[in-house]
Subunit: 393 residues, 2 copies
């Protein structure tokens, strides 16, 4: 099977490395083209800076898009699908935004559009979710979807250092980018959550204003110390619930008791869970990023195409409706302003420097918190475990 890799950064190089090793079932895979940047000197005979040379190759079967970013990735994916090439991408930003378009164009052209590596890196999450859906409705998803933010929170807990010190360390280690906002403000989690929701409920949602997002930029060493003292560990989570014909989804810091798998998912690992009617709770832990785990997931998609293992069909015809107040939760808030009046309806209780708010709808909480942030840009919040074992059910 002939493959073109668009982009030869970390993941692209990883895909090439694994295929070159030609172990087990990968010996029939052949990297025929590698798209590099315009005017960059080619190091390998497969390299070209001409996308049309790739698209017009009649013997090419699969295009692996690992450029990252929205454009030209979006245009290249569309063009490849229209040239009847299967497309595999690790690019969660472009999938989250254009999943419906890619799905339709792929179906129209009789080719596959697969993206296992885009959520959870090497974790077979998309595969696991799709399999669960063959038998069950999935009514809950929750995940530590972002390794960088998990590394930061874990290091803060282990070392007692400040957010900024640990962020700097993560940047020096290459775990965080120079502009870390996608990781720490929850946008990367939002993309991965939307992709998961798209599949779980067969609807198309984008990480727009409708999705409540609160990141970890404002967390302090004192916050971590206080949570620790209460036996709680904070994780940046993407979560979604489905009941009847309604669903919600949210990205927010979430506190877990010390004896949960979430609290003990350390370093830059990911942990993603689903709950289905007959399967119950199912959790997958693994390397959510990194060259070889992510490349491994790309190769798995290639092998699925090669072995004719079709993924779940998406039609986005579900009549599920988003409802921002579907789920209620308890929250803890830290702010320099007195916001007990603002949360008066939800039994606000002062706990040291914090305010605990009870059984507030998730959407309402995020709306009110945006008002708090306007007056106090340093404010922080996290959802609290309902009972033993985790966040709101």
């Amino acid at each position: 099977m002939n493959i073109a890799i668009l982009g030869f950064g970390t993941v692209g190089t990883g895909v090439y490395k694994i295929i070159e090793k030609a172990k087990r079932q990968t010996q029939n895979l052949h990297v025929k083209h590698i798209l590099i940047r315009k005017n960059k000197k080619p190091d390998l005979p497969e390299m070209t800076d001409d996308i049309d040379e790739i698209l017009n190759d009649k013997d090419l079967d699969v295009v692996v898009e690992v450029l990252g970013g929205i454009e030209p990735a979006h245009q290249y994916i569309l063009a490849a699908l229209k040239h009847k090439k299967h497309v595999i991408t690790a690019n969660k930003a472009v999938i989250a935004r254009y999943m419906d378009e890619f799905t339709k164009i792929a179906a129209d052209n009789g080719v596959k559009f697969y993206f296992e590596s885009s959520v959870g890196g090497g974790i077979p999450w998309i595969q696991g979710l799709e399999r669960a859906l063959r038998v069950d409705d999935v009514n809950k998803i929750q995940g530590i979807f972002n390794g960088t933010s998990n590394f930061i929170l874990d290091q803060m807990k282990k070392t007692g250092k400040s957010f900024n010190d640990v962020l700097l360390q993560a940047q020096q280690l290459g775990y965080a980018e120079a502009d870390p906002s996608a990781d720490i403000d929850g946008l990367d989690v939002a993309n991965k959550l939307c992709i998961s929701v798209d599949i779980a409920y067969d609807i198309f949602v984008k990480p727009t204003d409708e999705l409540p997002i609160f990141g970890i930029r404002n967390i302090t060493g004192d916050d971590i110390a206080y949570f620790n003292q209460k036996g709680l560990t904070v994780k940046l989570m993407g979560k979604s619930h489905q009941r009847g014909n309604e669903f919600d989804y949210v990205v927010e810091p979430t506190l877990y008791h010390g004896d949960t798998l979430e609290a003990n998912t350390t370093d830059n690992y990911n942990l993603i869970s689903l709950h289905g009617e007959t399967i119950g709770n199912l959790k997958f832990m693994g390397q959510g990023a990194g060259q070889l785990p992510t490349a491994n997931a790309v190769i798995q998609d290639i092998l699925d195409i090669f072995q004719h293992k079709e993924h779940l069909k998406r039609e986005f015809m579900s009549n599920l409706k988003y409802r921002s107040d579907l789920t209620r939760s308890n929250y803890i808030v830290r702010s320099e302003i007195d916001c007990s009046k603002m949360f008066a309806k939800f039994d606000p209780c002062v706990r040291g420097d914090y305010l605990v708010i009870h059984q507030i709808p998730i959407g309402e909480m995020h709306r009110l918190m945006r008002q708090v942030l306007k007056q106090d840009g340093t404010a922080f919040m996290a959802s609290l475990p309902d009972r033993k074992g985790g966040a709101a059910q």
Copy 2:
């Protein structure tokens, strides 16, 4: 697709229930026969006590064997395969013993022999392991494979009760059988570990004398309290390592630090892990037993057959050799006899009522422990974490 269910106990009933619900992709499945015990009164029109009526049905596609036990399950599976019916079984004891025979007869007759539900219940472990093997050599497997023993150890830790009190409670709740030996002596784990090893290394191993097995029958409330005080949690594990052309496998109580996923796998959950070259660590947690999770895994196998999703081929042609001293580990031993001389080569150190033994080959440890048990039938041992994070690598 026409299905026969052999045995209508917990799992058989679950398979029937899920198919009757006819959700999503299961609507094409049809239970045509249910084999019940001789002379038992049939409650449903599908029921029969005549295995030949089932085997000779030309329109039957799949036989689901959920009788349990070795015979007649073994003969029925062989007969079904020879009648060119696909066979799916949840029966780990019969698979662990006859995997090679079933694999060969299925291939000879051009039908499938699948067994996802036999290891890890609802956890897609076989599927996950087979996928990992498409790209990687898997060089480590470790799992909490048995929910009953995990429930017992977890309850002992949570309540401080004795082994016997918790075992009785588990029996009353229906989590443990009247004769609990398969669960507490490690035989169930041994079956599941052997099945995993068969697939991981493409060799056929049986849970014979070669496999070192040590169960939890001798653990006391004082042991649990002592481990607790050291920040350690004990789990009954099945483990296997592969290096070069050699492998080992072992079933034994294993101590984990409190901040590992293993230590925090509570109740009757299972947690099964693999390590592969490019994928790194991958862990799956879920319901390792129970009617609907196990039945769900049976249905997944049926759907794989229906959707022509072929599982990994097994040929058992690997030249991997078992070596009992491949891996060394530290152990803690409790015995009423003084056994420091016996372990003199491995730097034995007294720690209260316990002896800590250093860097002893796993096989040697189990051999010596069998000698200890001859003099002190109450002796207990567990392997210790090598460094932070778990048992011997």
